[in-house]
Protein backbone atom coordinates (compact mmCIF):
# COMPACT_ATOMS: atom_id res chain seq x y z
CA UNK A 1 0.00 0.00 0.00
CA UNK A 2 2.86 2.37 0.83
CA UNK A 3 4.46 1.46 -2.47
CA UNK A 4 1.25 2.28 -4.30
CA UNK A 5 1.21 5.87 -3.05
CA UNK A 6 4.94 6.28 -3.60
CA UNK A 7 4.69 5.20 -7.25
CA UNK A 8 1.61 7.36 -7.78
CA UNK A 9 3.41 10.34 -6.25
CA UNK A 10 6.47 9.75 -8.44
CA UNK A 11 4.30 9.72 -11.56
CA UNK A 12 2.57 12.94 -10.48
CA UNK A 13 5.91 14.58 -9.72
CA UNK A 14 7.30 13.54 -13.10
CA UNK A 15 4.23 14.91 -14.92
CA UNK A 16 4.32 18.17 -12.98
CA UNK A 17 8.03 18.60 -13.66
CA UNK A 18 7.62 18.01 -17.40
CA UNK A 19 4.68 20.40 -17.44
CA UNK A 20 6.47 23.06 -15.38
CA UNK A 21 9.30 23.13 -17.89
CA UNK A 22 7.17 23.55 -21.00
CA UNK A 23 3.79 24.81 -19.68
CA UNK A 24 2.43 23.44 -22.94
CA UNK A 25 -0.74 21.71 -21.72
CA UNK A 26 -1.60 24.27 -19.03
CA UNK A 27 -1.29 27.30 -21.27
CA UNK A 28 -3.06 25.82 -24.30
CA UNK A 29 -5.88 24.30 -22.24
CA UNK A 30 -6.46 27.51 -20.30
CA UNK A 31 -6.61 29.56 -23.45
CA UNK A 32 -8.93 27.02 -25.06
CA UNK A 33 -11.28 27.12 -22.06
CA UNK A 34 -11.32 30.92 -22.31
CA UNK A 35 -12.19 30.73 -26.02
CA UNK A 36 -15.02 28.28 -25.43
CA UNK A 37 -16.63 30.51 -22.80
CA UNK A 38 -16.26 33.54 -25.05
CA UNK A 39 -17.87 31.73 -27.99
CA UNK A 40 -20.81 30.86 -25.75
CA UNK A 41 -20.97 34.44 -24.53
CA UNK A 42 -21.20 35.75 -28.10
CA UNK A 43 -23.96 33.28 -28.85
CA UNK A 44 -25.99 33.46 -25.66
CA UNK A 45 -25.63 36.92 -24.11
CA UNK A 46 -28.10 39.49 -25.47
CA UNK A 47 -27.83 43.12 -24.37
CA UNK A 48 -25.73 42.27 -21.35
CA UNK A 49 -27.96 39.51 -19.92
CA UNK A 50 -27.64 35.80 -20.70
CA UNK A 51 -30.57 33.92 -22.27
CA UNK A 52 -32.16 31.67 -19.61
CA UNK A 53 -30.10 29.88 -16.95
CA UNK A 54 -27.28 28.75 -19.20
CA UNK A 55 -24.32 29.49 -16.93
CA UNK A 56 -24.21 26.04 -15.27
CA UNK A 57 -24.30 24.26 -18.62
CA UNK A 58 -21.56 26.47 -20.06
CA UNK A 59 -19.31 25.93 -17.06
CA UNK A 60 -19.57 22.14 -17.47
CA UNK A 61 -19.34 22.08 -21.24
CA UNK A 62 -16.21 24.21 -21.12
CA UNK A 63 -14.76 21.92 -18.44
CA UNK A 64 -15.49 18.80 -20.49
CA UNK A 65 -14.12 20.28 -23.73
CA UNK A 66 -10.90 21.57 -22.20
CA UNK A 67 -10.54 18.35 -20.19
CA UNK A 68 -10.71 16.33 -23.40
CA UNK A 69 -8.08 18.53 -24.98
CA UNK A 70 -5.78 18.24 -21.96
CA UNK A 71 -6.18 14.44 -21.86
CA UNK A 72 -5.32 14.16 -25.52
CA UNK A 73 -2.23 16.40 -25.24
CA UNK A 74 -0.95 14.79 -22.04
CA UNK A 75 -0.93 11.32 -23.55
CA UNK A 76 0.22 12.49 -26.97
CA UNK A 77 3.38 13.72 -25.23
CA UNK A 78 3.82 10.29 -23.64
CA UNK A 79 3.47 8.68 -27.05
CA UNK A 80 5.91 10.83 -29.00
CA UNK A 81 9.01 9.68 -27.16
CA UNK A 82 7.44 6.30 -26.36
CA UNK A 83 7.68 7.21 -22.69
CA UNK A 84 4.39 5.52 -21.85
CA UNK A 85 5.95 2.20 -22.82
CA UNK A 86 8.90 3.03 -20.57
CA UNK A 87 6.46 3.80 -17.76
CA UNK A 88 4.70 0.48 -18.34
CA UNK A 89 8.03 -1.37 -18.27
CA UNK A 90 8.92 0.13 -14.91
CA UNK A 91 8.76 -2.44 -12.09
CA UNK A 92 5.73 -0.78 -10.54
CA UNK A 93 2.07 -1.61 -10.08
CA UNK A 94 0.03 -0.59 -13.12
CA UNK A 95 -2.88 0.70 -11.01
CA UNK A 96 -0.44 2.99 -9.17
CA UNK A 97 0.67 4.46 -12.49
CA UNK A 98 -2.96 5.04 -13.39
CA UNK A 99 -3.59 6.71 -10.02
CA UNK A 100 -0.62 9.01 -10.59
CA UNK A 101 -1.82 9.96 -14.06
CA UNK A 102 -5.32 10.61 -12.72
CA UNK A 103 -4.01 12.83 -9.92
CA UNK A 104 -1.93 14.84 -12.38
CA UNK A 105 -4.96 15.28 -14.61
CA UNK A 106 -7.08 16.41 -11.65
CA UNK A 107 -4.53 19.04 -10.65
CA UNK A 108 -4.47 20.37 -14.19
CA UNK A 109 -8.26 20.49 -14.51
CA UNK A 110 -8.58 22.11 -11.09
CA UNK A 111 -6.28 24.86 -12.29
CA UNK A 112 -8.41 25.37 -15.41
CA UNK A 113 -11.60 25.45 -13.33
CA UNK A 114 -10.16 28.13 -11.06
CA UNK A 115 -10.11 30.38 -14.11
CA UNK A 116 -13.33 29.08 -15.66
CA UNK A 117 -15.60 29.59 -12.63
CA UNK A 118 -14.87 33.30 -12.13
CA UNK A 119 -15.07 33.84 -15.88
CA UNK A 120 -18.54 32.27 -16.08
CA UNK A 121 -19.57 34.27 -13.03
CA UNK A 122 -18.38 37.44 -14.69
CA UNK A 123 -19.77 36.95 -18.20
CA UNK A 124 -23.03 35.18 -17.32
CA UNK A 125 -23.76 36.86 -13.98
CA UNK A 126 -23.80 33.55 -12.11
CA UNK A 127 -23.83 33.77 -8.27
CA UNK A 128 -20.64 31.72 -7.89
CA UNK A 129 -20.04 32.90 -4.31
CA UNK A 130 -23.52 31.99 -3.05
CA UNK A 131 -22.63 28.45 -1.94
CA UNK A 132 -18.87 28.09 -2.45
CA UNK A 133 -18.58 24.79 -0.55
CA UNK A 134 -21.37 23.07 -2.51
CA UNK A 135 -20.02 24.39 -5.81
CA UNK A 136 -16.50 23.23 -4.99
CA UNK A 137 -17.79 19.79 -3.97
CA UNK A 138 -19.75 19.49 -7.23
CA UNK A 139 -16.75 20.51 -9.29
CA UNK A 140 -14.38 18.21 -7.43
CA UNK A 141 -16.67 15.17 -7.61
CA UNK A 142 -17.65 15.84 -11.22
CA UNK A 143 -14.12 16.43 -12.41
CA UNK A 144 -12.94 13.27 -10.65
CA UNK A 145 -15.57 11.21 -12.46
CA UNK A 146 -14.76 12.77 -15.81
CA UNK A 147 -11.00 12.44 -15.39
CA UNK A 148 -11.23 8.87 -14.01
CA UNK A 149 -12.89 7.62 -17.19
CA UNK A 150 -10.93 10.02 -19.40
CA UNK A 151 -7.49 9.04 -18.10
CA UNK A 152 -8.18 5.34 -18.68
CA UNK A 153 -9.55 5.88 -22.18
CA UNK A 154 -6.81 8.30 -23.21
CA UNK A 155 -4.18 5.84 -21.98
CA UNK A 156 -5.83 2.97 -23.87
CA UNK A 157 -6.07 5.03 -27.04
CA UNK A 158 -2.37 5.93 -27.12
CA UNK A 159 -1.65 3.06 -29.49
CA UNK A 160 -4.92 3.25 -31.44
CA UNK A 161 -5.46 4.80 -34.83
CA UNK A 162 -7.60 7.98 -35.13
CA UNK A 163 -7.27 8.51 -31.36
CA UNK A 164 -8.02 12.25 -31.55
CA UNK A 165 -11.58 11.68 -32.65
CA UNK A 166 -12.01 8.43 -30.68
CA UNK A 167 -11.43 10.04 -27.27
CA UNK A 168 -14.51 12.31 -27.27
CA UNK A 169 -16.60 9.67 -29.06
CA UNK A 170 -15.92 7.15 -26.31
CA UNK A 171 -15.72 9.55 -23.38
CA UNK A 172 -18.85 11.69 -23.79
CA UNK A 173 -21.48 8.92 -23.82
CA UNK A 174 -19.90 7.36 -20.74
CA UNK A 175 -19.71 10.64 -18.83
CA UNK A 176 -23.34 11.62 -19.52
CA UNK A 177 -24.27 11.04 -15.84
CA UNK A 178 -21.44 13.37 -14.78
CA UNK A 179 -22.66 16.07 -17.11
CA UNK A 180 -26.30 15.71 -16.03
CA UNK A 181 -25.41 15.69 -12.33
CA UNK A 182 -22.90 18.52 -12.66
CA UNK A 183 -25.15 20.80 -14.71
CA UNK A 184 -28.33 20.10 -12.69
CA UNK A 185 -26.50 20.45 -9.37
CA UNK A 186 -24.83 23.69 -10.38
CA UNK A 187 -28.08 25.04 -11.82
CA UNK A 188 -29.78 24.28 -8.50
CA UNK A 189 -27.17 26.49 -6.80
CA UNK A 190 -27.31 29.27 -9.41
CA UNK A 191 -31.11 29.67 -9.57
CA UNK A 192 -33.00 32.50 -7.89
CA UNK A 193 -33.69 30.61 -4.66
CA UNK A 194 -30.89 28.02 -4.43
CA UNK A 195 -31.96 24.43 -3.71
CA UNK A 196 -29.20 23.04 -1.49
CA UNK A 197 -30.90 19.70 -0.88
CA UNK A 198 -31.06 19.01 -4.62
CA UNK A 199 -27.41 20.01 -5.02
CA UNK A 200 -26.48 17.61 -2.22
CA UNK A 201 -28.36 14.80 -3.99
CA UNK A 202 -26.33 15.39 -7.15
CA UNK A 203 -23.07 15.56 -5.17
CA UNK A 204 -23.92 12.19 -3.60
CA UNK A 205 -24.65 10.69 -7.03
CA UNK A 206 -21.34 12.02 -8.35
CA UNK A 207 -19.39 10.61 -5.40
CA UNK A 208 -21.02 7.23 -5.99
CA UNK A 209 -20.15 7.43 -9.69
CA UNK A 210 -16.53 8.29 -8.76
CA UNK A 211 -16.22 5.33 -6.41
CA UNK A 212 -17.58 2.87 -9.00
CA UNK A 213 -15.60 4.17 -11.95
CA UNK A 214 -12.28 4.77 -10.19
CA UNK A 215 -12.48 1.19 -8.89
CA UNK A 216 -13.38 -0.15 -12.35
CA UNK A 217 -10.59 1.85 -13.97
CA UNK A 218 -7.95 0.70 -11.47
CA UNK A 219 -9.11 -2.82 -12.16
CA UNK A 220 -9.17 -2.58 -15.98
CA UNK A 221 -5.98 -0.55 -16.42
CA UNK A 222 -3.75 -3.60 -16.00
CA UNK A 223 -5.39 -5.88 -18.64
CA UNK A 224 -6.03 -3.14 -21.24
CA UNK A 225 -2.49 -1.78 -21.07
CA UNK A 226 -0.88 -5.20 -21.49
CA UNK A 227 0.20 -5.75 -25.08
Amino acid sequence: MKDFFRVAWLVVRKDLMVEARSLEVVSTTLFFALTVVLVFAFGLVREGTPVGDVSAAILWIATAFSGTLALGRTFERERQADTLRALMLAPADRPAIYAGKLAGMLLLMALVEMVLVPLVGLLFQAPILGHPVHLAALLLAGTTGFAAVGTLFAAMLVRARSRDVMLPILLYPITVPVMIAGVRGTAALFQGTPDEALARFWIALLVFFDVVFVTLALWTFEPVMTE
Binding site: F153, A160, I180, T220, V224
Partner: protein, 219 residues
Protein backbone atom coordinates in the same frame (compact mmCIF):
# COMPACT_ATOMS: atom_id res chain seq x y z
CA UNK B 1 -24.08 -21.85 -40.38
CA UNK B 2 -24.68 -24.63 -37.87
CA UNK B 3 -27.76 -26.88 -37.85
CA UNK B 4 -29.06 -25.09 -34.76
CA UNK B 5 -28.76 -21.67 -36.42
CA UNK B 6 -30.67 -22.96 -39.45
CA UNK B 7 -33.53 -24.22 -37.30
CA UNK B 8 -33.62 -20.97 -35.32
CA UNK B 9 -33.63 -18.86 -38.47
CA UNK B 10 -36.34 -20.93 -40.16
CA UNK B 11 -38.56 -20.81 -37.07
CA UNK B 12 -38.02 -17.07 -36.58
CA UNK B 13 -38.72 -16.42 -40.27
CA UNK B 14 -41.93 -18.44 -40.24
CA UNK B 15 -43.12 -16.83 -37.01
CA UNK B 16 -42.37 -13.30 -38.18
CA UNK B 17 -44.17 -14.05 -41.45
CA UNK B 18 -47.42 -14.90 -39.67
CA UNK B 19 -46.94 -12.29 -36.92
CA UNK B 20 -48.88 -9.54 -38.82
CA UNK B 21 -52.04 -11.72 -38.88
CA UNK B 22 -51.73 -12.60 -35.24
CA UNK B 23 -51.19 -8.97 -34.27
CA UNK B 24 -54.10 -7.98 -36.48
CA UNK B 25 -56.35 -10.48 -34.71
CA UNK B 26 -55.48 -9.13 -31.27
CA UNK B 27 -58.10 -6.80 -29.75
CA UNK B 28 -57.73 -3.02 -29.93
CA UNK B 29 -56.46 -1.29 -26.82
CA UNK B 30 -59.25 0.87 -25.31
CA UNK B 31 -57.62 4.31 -25.35
CA UNK B 32 -54.86 4.06 -27.98
CA UNK B 33 -56.54 1.89 -30.59
CA UNK B 34 -54.46 0.90 -33.59
CA UNK B 35 -51.33 2.76 -32.45
CA UNK B 36 -50.81 0.39 -29.56
CA UNK B 37 -50.05 -2.49 -31.97
CA UNK B 38 -46.52 -1.22 -32.63
CA UNK B 39 -45.84 -2.33 -29.09
CA UNK B 40 -45.76 -6.00 -30.26
CA UNK B 41 -42.50 -5.23 -32.04
CA UNK B 42 -41.25 -2.41 -29.85
CA UNK B 43 -41.10 -4.35 -26.61
CA UNK B 44 -39.34 -7.51 -27.89
CA UNK B 45 -36.78 -5.29 -29.64
CA UNK B 46 -36.21 -3.26 -26.48
CA UNK B 47 -35.76 -6.39 -24.34
CA UNK B 48 -33.29 -7.90 -26.78
CA UNK B 49 -31.46 -4.58 -27.03
CA UNK B 50 -30.88 -4.70 -23.26
CA UNK B 51 -30.04 -8.42 -23.36
CA UNK B 52 -27.49 -7.81 -26.13
CA UNK B 53 -25.92 -4.99 -24.10
CA UNK B 54 -25.66 -7.23 -21.03
CA UNK B 55 -24.11 -10.05 -23.09
CA UNK B 56 -21.62 -7.65 -24.69
CA UNK B 57 -20.59 -6.21 -21.31
CA UNK B 58 -20.29 -9.59 -19.61
CA UNK B 59 -18.40 -11.19 -22.51
CA UNK B 60 -16.05 -8.18 -22.58
CA UNK B 61 -15.34 -8.54 -18.87
CA UNK B 62 -14.58 -12.25 -19.35
CA UNK B 63 -12.34 -11.41 -22.30
CA UNK B 64 -10.42 -8.77 -20.32
CA UNK B 65 -10.06 -10.50 -16.98
CA UNK B 66 -10.40 -14.17 -17.91
CA UNK B 67 -8.13 -13.88 -20.99
CA UNK B 68 -10.69 -15.90 -22.97
CA UNK B 69 -10.18 -14.89 -26.59
CA UNK B 70 -13.39 -16.48 -27.88
CA UNK B 71 -15.35 -14.14 -25.65
CA UNK B 72 -14.33 -11.20 -27.80
CA UNK B 73 -16.27 -12.66 -30.73
CA UNK B 74 -19.38 -12.97 -28.57
CA UNK B 75 -18.94 -9.40 -27.35
CA UNK B 76 -18.62 -8.05 -30.88
CA UNK B 77 -21.62 -10.04 -32.12
CA UNK B 78 -23.74 -8.89 -29.18
CA UNK B 79 -22.64 -5.26 -29.63
CA UNK B 80 -23.69 -5.31 -33.29
CA UNK B 81 -27.06 -6.79 -32.33
CA UNK B 82 -27.44 -4.16 -29.60
CA UNK B 83 -27.09 -1.46 -32.25
CA UNK B 84 -29.57 -3.19 -34.61
CA UNK B 85 -32.25 -3.87 -31.99
CA UNK B 86 -31.53 -0.46 -30.50
CA UNK B 87 -32.42 1.18 -33.82
CA UNK B 88 -35.68 -0.80 -33.98
CA UNK B 89 -36.50 0.30 -30.42
CA UNK B 90 -35.58 3.93 -30.99
CA UNK B 91 -37.57 4.15 -34.24
CA UNK B 92 -40.73 2.33 -33.12
CA UNK B 93 -40.79 4.19 -29.78
CA UNK B 94 -41.13 7.74 -31.17
CA UNK B 95 -43.63 6.54 -33.81
CA UNK B 96 -45.86 5.44 -30.97
CA UNK B 97 -45.09 8.44 -28.77
CA UNK B 98 -46.12 10.86 -31.53
CA UNK B 99 -49.66 9.44 -31.42
CA UNK B 100 -49.89 8.60 -27.72
CA UNK B 101 -48.16 11.59 -26.13
CA UNK B 102 -48.37 14.01 -29.06
CA UNK B 103 -44.61 14.47 -29.25
CA UNK B 104 -41.84 12.44 -30.85
CA UNK B 105 -39.38 12.49 -28.00
CA UNK B 106 -39.24 13.27 -24.28
CA UNK B 107 -36.17 13.29 -22.03
CA UNK B 108 -37.59 10.53 -19.89
CA UNK B 109 -35.38 8.10 -17.94
CA UNK B 110 -36.02 5.06 -20.11
CA UNK B 111 -35.79 6.91 -23.39
CA UNK B 112 -32.63 8.77 -22.49
CA UNK B 113 -30.89 5.70 -21.03
CA UNK B 114 -31.77 3.70 -24.14
CA UNK B 115 -30.41 6.44 -26.39
CA UNK B 116 -27.15 6.75 -24.43
CA UNK B 117 -26.71 2.98 -24.23
CA UNK B 118 -27.24 2.80 -28.00
CA UNK B 119 -24.66 5.58 -28.50
CA UNK B 120 -22.17 3.68 -26.33
CA UNK B 121 -22.45 0.64 -28.59
CA UNK B 122 -22.23 2.72 -31.76
CA UNK B 123 -19.02 4.20 -30.31
CA UNK B 124 -17.86 0.66 -29.55
CA UNK B 125 -18.40 -0.40 -33.17
CA UNK B 126 -16.66 2.74 -34.47
CA UNK B 127 -13.71 1.93 -32.25
CA UNK B 128 -13.61 -1.68 -33.44
CA UNK B 129 -13.80 -0.55 -37.05
CA UNK B 130 -11.33 2.34 -37.04
CA UNK B 131 -9.27 1.85 -33.89
CA UNK B 132 -6.60 -0.27 -35.55
CA UNK B 133 -4.53 -2.86 -33.69
CA UNK B 134 -5.45 -3.41 -30.07
CA UNK B 135 -9.01 -2.15 -30.63
CA UNK B 136 -10.43 -5.39 -29.22
CA UNK B 137 -9.11 -4.65 -25.73
CA UNK B 138 -10.10 -1.00 -25.86
CA UNK B 139 -13.55 -2.06 -27.02
CA UNK B 140 -13.85 -4.49 -24.14
CA UNK B 141 -13.08 -1.66 -21.71
CA UNK B 142 -15.66 0.53 -23.41
CA UNK B 143 -18.39 -2.13 -23.31
CA UNK B 144 -17.65 -2.85 -19.65
CA UNK B 145 -17.81 0.85 -18.73
CA UNK B 146 -20.91 1.28 -20.85
CA UNK B 147 -22.79 -1.43 -19.02
CA UNK B 148 -21.70 -0.15 -15.60
CA UNK B 149 -22.99 3.24 -16.67
CA UNK B 150 -26.62 2.26 -17.26
CA UNK B 151 -27.86 2.54 -13.65
CA UNK B 152 -26.22 5.97 -13.31
CA UNK B 153 -27.86 7.29 -16.46
CA UNK B 154 -31.18 5.86 -15.35
CA UNK B 155 -31.07 7.40 -11.86
CA UNK B 156 -29.79 10.74 -13.07
CA UNK B 157 -32.49 11.13 -15.70
CA UNK B 158 -35.15 9.69 -13.42
CA UNK B 159 -34.99 12.76 -11.21
CA UNK B 160 -36.86 14.45 -14.04
CA UNK B 161 -40.40 13.24 -14.62
CA UNK B 162 -40.97 9.77 -16.03
CA UNK B 163 -43.57 9.29 -18.77
CA UNK B 164 -42.82 5.82 -20.14
CA UNK B 165 -45.44 3.13 -19.38
CA UNK B 166 -44.28 0.67 -16.75
CA UNK B 167 -43.33 -2.83 -17.87
CA UNK B 168 -45.16 -4.20 -14.83
CA UNK B 169 -48.26 -4.07 -17.05
CA UNK B 170 -47.08 -7.14 -19.01
CA UNK B 171 -48.23 -9.98 -16.67
CA UNK B 172 -51.65 -8.35 -16.30
CA UNK B 173 -52.39 -8.23 -20.04
CA UNK B 174 -55.48 -10.16 -21.18
CA UNK B 175 -54.74 -13.41 -23.02
CA UNK B 176 -55.79 -11.98 -26.39
CA UNK B 177 -53.05 -9.35 -26.11
CA UNK B 178 -50.52 -11.29 -24.04
CA UNK B 179 -50.55 -14.20 -26.52
CA UNK B 180 -49.45 -12.18 -29.58
CA UNK B 181 -46.90 -10.34 -27.42
CA UNK B 182 -45.22 -13.54 -26.25
CA UNK B 183 -45.44 -14.90 -29.80
CA UNK B 184 -43.49 -11.88 -31.07
CA UNK B 185 -41.00 -12.06 -28.19
CA UNK B 186 -40.29 -15.71 -29.05
CA UNK B 187 -39.86 -14.93 -32.76
CA UNK B 188 -37.51 -12.03 -32.06
CA UNK B 189 -35.57 -14.08 -29.54
CA UNK B 190 -35.03 -16.93 -32.00
CA UNK B 191 -33.84 -14.46 -34.62
CA UNK B 192 -31.53 -12.91 -32.03
CA UNK B 193 -30.06 -16.30 -31.06
CA UNK B 194 -29.42 -17.25 -34.69
CA UNK B 195 -27.76 -13.92 -35.54
CA UNK B 196 -25.68 -13.92 -32.36
CA UNK B 197 -24.43 -17.45 -32.90
CA UNK B 198 -23.63 -16.89 -36.56
CA UNK B 199 -21.84 -13.59 -36.04
CA UNK B 200 -19.77 -14.90 -33.11
CA UNK B 201 -18.81 -17.96 -35.18
CA UNK B 202 -17.79 -15.77 -38.10
CA UNK B 203 -15.59 -13.68 -35.81
CA UNK B 204 -13.96 -16.78 -34.29
CA UNK B 205 -13.17 -18.07 -37.78
CA UNK B 206 -11.76 -14.70 -38.81
CA UNK B 207 -9.44 -14.76 -35.79
CA UNK B 208 -8.38 -18.31 -36.62
CA UNK B 209 -7.51 -17.40 -40.21
CA UNK B 210 -5.53 -14.42 -38.93
CA UNK B 211 -3.64 -16.72 -36.56
CA UNK B 212 -2.89 -19.12 -39.43
CA UNK B 213 -1.53 -16.29 -41.56
CA UNK B 214 0.64 -15.11 -38.68
CA UNK B 215 1.88 -18.66 -38.07
CA UNK B 216 2.79 -19.01 -41.73
CA UNK B 217 4.60 -15.67 -41.76
CA UNK B 218 6.70 -16.80 -38.84
CA UNK B 219 7.42 -20.22 -40.35
Amino acid sequence: MTKLNQIELALAGAMLAVAPWIIDAAPYEATMGLVQKIFYFHMPAAWLFLLAAIIAGTASAMFLFGKKRDMDGWALAAAELAVVFGIITLVTGPLWARKAWGIWWVWDARLTSSLILWMIFVAYLLLRRYGGPGADKLGAGMALFGLANVPFIFVSVNVWRTLHPQTSVVPTLPVQMGGPLWFCITAFFLLFLALLGMRARLERQRVRIEDLYLAEDEA
